[in-house]
């Protein structure tokens, strides 16, 4: 009796498993396939934009979320067989890397004209969607705003030992290294990294570094601006122990970087993908995005509802996303400094 029930248990369980396998979602057929988006950008703005796009055009979008660089690796690995139609990256270097491998198609010229040309690829293979800024986040009770230095390079000194949080494996930090290298030279960039290695504290992400500052674990963090706003939304801005410091003066400590998108050459839904990118930089699209994340819209005339420092007054490092390239040189420096 007992054996029979056991055997029945196994048989039923096995049959159930097979039924579940056969019931799993299958890839849709190519002729009716929805637009396939590989997304490395933060989800809230992307999901908001997709909802608005589908509502306005009737085109369905499926999303694969991930880290921008990992998705770029995946696209490179997939090559011409990639199921992706379009790639929305949190950072421009991932777009540059896929473009350099000849995987991105040119965008519609009309789309490219919607945002200032310096925020897109020179060859028109990708377009900037939003801008954000490298900033210094500091804990108000641990450090006096007047004591903050005039350059991000100053943090890599013994005076700041144990007080500076940074995330060497974030794409944004890599771009900051590139900016230091372009503006101050390779040797200065390497010395800066070695200083941070010796005196700074490594965090896994900008968001973790900002939280550590807010929690009083460490005085200062080098971060993108919107992580502070994300935390402020979580905690309530009035209750924040930390604040943002914009260095300005063309210093690499204030660096404007962009998120952006490109259409794959191998896209099966190339036309719909082009429409999506056009929608992304349209007035409606830009409004939808910047309501969901504290980044700057790139389309002139659209404003962010977040209390951001005015874009025009940032006085950032004078380098463009195109100049930052795919950040390979930054990785070499990170490795030379023993940080990667």
């Amino acid at each position: 009796m007992y054996d029979v029930t056991r055997r029945r248990f196994l048989l039923t369980a096995g049959a159930g498993g097979l039924a579940l396998v056969s019931g799993l979602p299958r890839p849709a057929r190519a002729d009716s396939a929805p637009l396939a988006l590989y997304n490395g950008q933060h989800r809230p703005p992307v999901e908001a934009l997709i909802a608005a796009f589908t509502k306005s055009t009737g085109i369905e979008v499926t999303v694969r979320h991930g880290n921008s660089a990992q998705l770029a690796s995946q696209i490179v690995e997939e090559g011409a067989h990639s199921p992706a139609d379009l790639f929305w990256s949190e950072e421009s270097p991932s777009l540059v890397a896929t473009a350099r491998r000849g995987l991105l198609a040119p965008l519609d010229p009309e789309t490219l004209q919607q945002v200032p040309a310096i925020f897109s690829a020179k060859d028109g293979t990708w377009i900037g969607a939003t801008a954000r800024c490298r900033v210094v986040v500091y804990n108000k009770s641990m450090i006096d705003a007047a004591a903050l230095p005039p350059s991000v390079l100053d943090f890599a000194t013994e005076a700041w030992k144990g007080k500076v949080a940074y995330a060497p494996n974030s794409g944004a930090f890599q771009q900051q290294i590139m900016a230091v290298m372009i503006l101050k030279g390779r040797d200065a960039a390497l010395a800066w990294l070695k200083g941070l290695r010796d005196f700074g504290e490594v965090y896994n992400s900008d968001s973790a570094a900002v939280e550590a500052v807010e929690g009083g674990d460490i005085a200062v963090a080098l971060s993108n601006n919107y992580y502070w706003y994300a935390l402020a939304r979580e905690i309530g801005e009035a209750d924040m122990n930390s604040a943002i410091y914009n260095i300005g003066r063309g210093d690499p400590g204030t660096l404007v970087t962009v998120s952006g998108a490109g259409v794959l050459k191998s896209a099966k839904n190339a036309e719909a993908a082009q429409r999506f990118v056009a929608f992304m930089v349209s007035e409606e699209g830009q409004k939808t995005i910047v309501e969901a994340i504290a980044e700057y819209p790139l389309r002139p005339g659209v404003t962010s509802p977040f209390p951001l420092a005015p874009f025009a007054g940032l006085d950032p490092a004078p380098v463009t996303p195109d100049q930052l390239g795919d950040a390979e040189a930054a990785l070499d420096l990170l490795r030379e400094a023993g940080l990667a």
Binding site: R7, H65, Q174
Partner: protein, 530 residues
């Protein structure tokens, strides 16, 4: 009885192999060999990928990568973490198993559950909870504490099962031969508990080698976090492959150690469920100490992380954001985990059966290779599958099947260990008896061996389901586009700093992980005794 005496005899002789048993091993059936080729081929994929990618770096780059001071640091951190967590987990697991199985501990049934439940708490959830209590829990020390608290059940459970299923007759015989309690323990109990201890320790060690999410949160840099970093920073990465190769080599001594432990061990019983009840050892004045220790352990391993989840639910302003995706995510978790579990267990079964029927070199390598790969991060296995699926089987790329292949590669050893625990209790002779009575090989297997394997299969299903529920990186890369799981939602919300939004997903993940843990615990701890 003669079998028991024989076992004690071999124990006295230092575990000498019993050659009489070996003769019973015939040539393995061809069908079984064919079936075992499937997991072997799967396991070879990431190995080939790592070798190919390392090779493309060239000898000079490989050498340069190996002698960097940073590689030494990563190697050191990885080794310290692995040894410390495995050692501490073994101590806690053994103490816990001894208390609940051999001692007159008040509330044994409840403590069994309390000691198993931390399995349901994903390490990255626990780490986030602890980290938010204070920065002192970050770093290597904090990681050792937190990961031990969530890992020890992997040793506790098999050990508790082993201690329970041991026939008291052997210990009685040993005592009747004049050995005292300590010597009986060393000569009879310990050798029989070692395979369970070794198997559990191996799993903990492999988890530590491949752990990523928790360590990233706790700011500990190991080979695995460095591999992730490399992939985040660069494309076509060869140095990450070199580090992966180092990680696989680190798994080798662990696996060889476990093989040494298992050599000459065979713990079959004549007939099923013959172990008698034994009377528990009174704890006496130690009872309050034991209870206090168990309470502290439960508070640390379950109370703190759960408390933080509830706290974030109440305090965070992002609470409820994205809550409409909770049902699709639950559906994704369940369908991927359940189906993946059956695939993984099914693939593991022939491997275990073959290893019991035959001891050839191929069989031994095929049986142990999954443990070497178990230490690889999910990211590497996933990228290997992208590489091969796109080139060899483009039609199934981004279907659930590739993900199931990754699940099988990553978690075969869990299924193997659980099935083997049951399979070793089945005397080989039984199937032969069935065959001499006129049954064919398959009929003999289905009617005699398979029912006896049921507890092990149940345990395998539960353990694998548990791991698949919380698997993150392979799922992110390989899941069919548009399919999300609870784990990927937790990851993505915490990535955006929205902890309160992540909390309901994390809580649900812990709760549904509790189901396989409960099932596994019941299977492991009661089926044997009935």
């Amino acid at each position: 009885m003669s079998d028991a005496l024989g076992d004690i005899g071999s124990g006295l002789a230092g575990g000498a192999p019993r050659s009489a048993r070996r003769i019973a091993l015939g040539r393995p059936p061809l069908l079984l060999v064919m079936a075992a080729l499937v997991p072997t081929a799967l396991i070879l994929l990431p190995i080939v990928y790592v070798v190919l990618r390392s090779w493309s770096a060239g000898w000079y780059a490989i050498g340069a990568e190996l002698v960097r001071p940073r590689t030494a640091l990563l190697f050191w951190n990885t080794t310290v973490l692995t040894f410390a967590v495995t050692g501490l987990s073994a101590v806690i697991g053994f103490t816990g198993a001894w208390l609940t199985e051999r001692c007159a501990l008040p509330g044994r049934a409840i403590w069994r559950i309390a000691l198993s439940l931390p399995l349901a708490m994903p390490a990255f959830v626990a780490s986030f909870a602890w980290k938010s209590l204070g920065s002192e829990f970050q770093g290597l020390g904090g990681a050792i504490l937190i990961l031990t608290l969530e890992s020890f059940p992997l040793i506790y459970l098999p050990l508790a099962a082993a201690l329970r299923s041991m026939d008291p007759a052997m210990e009685e015989v040993s005592r009747s031969l004049g050995r005292n309690g300590r010597r009986t323990f060393l000569a009879v109990v310990l050798p029989r508990a070692l395979p369970a201890l070794g198997g559990g320790a191996l799993l903990v060690a492999a988890h530590m080698l491949s752990e990523f999410g928790a360590l990233a949160m706790l700011r500990v840099q190991t080979l695995t976090t460095a591999i992730f970093q490399q992939y985040e920073l660069q494309f076509d990465n060869a140095t990450a492959a070199v580090l992966s190769a180092v990680l696989m080599l680190l798994c080798l001594p662990v696996v060889l150690g476990e093989i040494a432990l298992r050599r000459g061990q065979r713990v079959s019983k004549v007939g099923r469920n013959t172990a008698r009840q034994r009377s528990p050892v009174p704890l006496g004045r130690l009872a309050p100490v034991a209870l206090l220790g168990l309470v502290a352990l439960t508070v640390l391993s379950l109370g703190v992380p759960f408390g933080r989840l509830v706290y974030w639910l109440i305090v965070g302003l992002s609470a409820g954001r994205g809550i409409d995706t909770i049902l699709p995510a639950l559906g994704g978790s369940l369908s991927l985990a359940i189906a993946g579990t059956f695939v993984t267990t099914l693939v593991a079964l022939p491997l275990v059966l073959l290893s019991l029927k035959s001891r050839g070199l191929f069989v031994r390598i095929a049986d142990r290779l999954p443990y070497v790969v178990h230490g690889l991060p999910g990211l590497v296995v996933a990228l290997a599958l992208v590489y091969f699926a796109i080139r060899l089987f483009p039609a199934i790329y981004q279907t659930a099947w590739v993900l199931f292949a990754a699940y099988a590669i990553l978690f075969l050893p869990l299924a193997q260990s659980a099935i083997r625990a049951s399979a070793e209790l089945v005397p080989r002779e039984i199937e032969e008896v069935a065959r001499t009575l006129g049954r064919g090989p398959i009929a003999a297997f289905v009617s005699v061996t398979l029912p006896a394997l049921a507890p092990g299969l149940g345990a395998a299903l539960a353990l694998v389901a548990l791991e698949l529920m919380r698997e993150l990186t392979a799922t992110l890369i390989l899941a069919p586009t548009g399919v999300s799981t609870l784990a990927t939602e937790v990851w993505s919300h915490t990535n955006d700093g929205a902890y309160a939004a992540a909390a309901p997903f994390a809580a649900l993940l812990v709760l549904i992980s509790g189901l396989p843990v409960y099932f596994f615990t019941r299977r492991t701890l009661t089926a044997i005794r009935r």
